[in-house]
């Protein structure tokens, strides 16, 4: 008998996949009406996704943030939710769905292969600081995904304009200045949220283990990501770097952020990996 959680999970994956197909089709084949259907499907997909998160929370006795499966389940939920909310307020944002939705549905589909074993919350994890740490981490990563999405679209559109061959697809995207500004704003917001993540993590670590920093691999990679975003902001604000040039720095930073969350726990033993590697 298939559990309700898995059924809701797969429903969300299918709806996000369908939304991705419609999104790409609407832009590539210049069918603006399909964009609304794509957004609608993504919004509908968020419902079973929310239910899956909720059911997992009930079953595990804690929010879904331990194990690869749970981390992906909650992170993609944040990413899709933030995208839908911001595109509703700022319609020019919609094009970023071309990156956010495929990334979300692929991550989610990958998570189905991971172990779904419920991990008990260890005593040191029972603190409000962990909730703050994880919530802001998810906000930060979601912002970074959206920022990277805007940067990718910028690079594609700028390249096509430079070659003088602007296809209909690129004409539907926001102006280069808008894409650049969106990328910057999401990365800046992510930078603040990631800073809060690191601070909350340090306070939690001090309360739990008597030290706020121990060069744990995840701590180190998080600092690497945060400082790389700091470099991105400095290059943009001080040196006036824009567009593709500064996007490269942001891409390196988001890679470091994902190494911290996904990569490190899978290959080495850390405070976090105890619960991610299973």
């Amino acid at each position: 008998m298939i559990s309700w959680e898995i059924a809701m999970f797969w429903t969300a994956v299918v709806l996000y996949a369908a939304s991705t197909v419609l999104f790409v089709t609407s832009f590539v084949f210049d069918k603006p009406g399909w964009e609304k259907w794509a957004l609608g499907l993504a919004g509908v997909g968020l419902a079973p996704h929310s239910v899956a998160n909720f059911l997992r929370w009930i079953a595990a006795g804690h929010a879904p943030y331990l194990s690869f499966y749970e981390v992906t389940l909650s992170l993609t939920w944040f990413a899709v939710l933030i995208f839908l909310l911001t595109q509703w307020r700022y319609p020019k944002m919609r094009a970023i769905g071309l990156v956010v939705l495929p990334v979300s549905f692929l991550l989610l589909a990958g998570a189905i292969l991971a172990s779904k074993e419920i991990i008990l919350l260890p005593p040191t994890f029972r603190t409000i600081w962990l909730s703050i740490h994880i919530s802001f981490n998810k906000l930060a990563l979601s912002c970074f995904i959206l920022g990277a999405g805007a940067a990718i679209l910028y690079i594609l559109k700028e390249r096509s304009e430079r070659k003088g061959r602007v296809k209909n697809f690129y004409k539907q995207l926001p102006d280069l200045a808008d894409l650049d500004e969106l990328s910057y704003r999401f990365n800046a917001a992510g930078f603040i949220f990631f800073g809060i993540t690191i601070i909350a993590g340090a306070i939690w670590a001090n309360n739990a283990w008597g030290r706020y920093w121990a060069w744990d691999p995840i701590e180190t990679w998080s600092l690497i990501a945060w400082l790389t975003y700091a470099l991105y902001l400095h290059l943009r604000l001080q040196r006036g770097w824009r567009g593709g040039k500064v996007a490269v720095v942001a891409f390196l930073a988001i890679i470091a952020a994902f190494i911290a969350v996904y990569g490190v726990p899978l290959v080495t033993k850390t405070i976090h990996s105890l619960f991610m590697a299973r």
């Binding site: 260890p122 603190t127 917001a189 603040i192 601070i199 008597g210 180190t220 600092l223 690497i224 470099l231």
Partner: protein
Amino acid sequence: MRAMERKSFLNRIWEFVKSRRLSLYLLPIFVLALIVGALLPQGSTYVFSSWWFTALTFALFLNTLFCTFSRTRAAWKITFRPAPKVSPRFIQDLKNHDEITYEGSLGEAIQLINSVLSSRRYRRTQGSTQEGISVLAEKGRFGIWGSVIFHMSFTVILVGIIISATTNLRGSIGLIEGETFTEQHQNYRTIKEAPLFGQNHQGFQVRLDKIYLTLDKDGQPTDWSSDLVVLDGGEEVKRHHVVANSPLTYKGFVFYQTPRYSFSPLFILRDSDGNVLYNAYVSLSLVEKRRPEFKDSFSIPGTPLKVKVQFYPDAVLVGKQLETKSFIPKKPALDLEVKAGKERVFKGPVWLNQSAEFLGLRLTFTGFRYWADFLVVRDLGIPIVFAGFWVALFGIVWRFWFTNKNIWVLLTEDAGKIVLNIGGKAERHKVLFSREFTAIVEEIKGRCK
């Protein structure tokens, strides 16, 4: 001439050290060093404790500090700068500017400008110039201070880190239930004192009254907590139930519960006349395997006896071998081996309240208690580091929340009509400001009709 050349050279060095350009070199170098340290298996030892990494960190902090001082002066000048002389030429030189003709009185035009700008929360100052009436509208004047505060916080954090590194203490103690620890250097099981910790041991006492274990169905502990009592000057001054994330703090010393626990069986050794030769709890080590084991060896003082013991909390005999069904101490037993010099004099199981007899002596297992490990930390730098974190957060949020924007309007009378020269600029988000400026101009034009 040489003095001038030296001064010029020193000036150039100083300009470079406090330049923001240097930070653009130091940041990626620092990040690369972090990556190297993260990738090396012993990164913590070889990289993060190395002299060159420490020097690099200091260089980055110093550059940040000097840049911040430099920025403070610039921020002061920007915040308290005198208002520029507004003229049509000044406004036309701005990237965002426009000209609007208003058919009405000067007073009505001023009211219109104020109404539009106040609805967008601009603070307005009116003045008069040779050319006409000027209205200066401004938002986020103090926004630049957010950057100063954010970068200054790194100095606070660095001070905290230096205090931590030079004055802290980290140690561990093991306490049996009922046992008292006196806070002195020699009483720690392990201890590491920073160079400037000095003679800061306080001499108070901490007594472990009870250990609580939450056990799962197999009897494996899933949670640990303890009741600790602080005695100072012979008087009880504090009690605390120590759990994960809730340590005991007293006089700057923090006692953290760790998951390391074990058992301490009580041994009484009697001679053939019944005289007690030895009466003590012996703390056994926790050997962490798939199933934890509690064992150790010890010598009995004043005798040639050496005892090897393994504790089975819920023992059952399988053949001649003891095994434990769970970790709940329902039916405890010991697997005991006693040697007198090189000769083994006893080997076998001993149940609670039973004895091992050898060489006319009787070694009785009469009871047991839990013992637990506590991590002890004294770190005066932590509150300063955390204060730095909060200052950094405050600064960065302030910086991104407030953006300095200025709009100038010059109203002049020309052939019975009012000419509005309007221009504006923002220090950041220039694209967004251009849109806002256009919207303001459109609104004014719309209300002029």
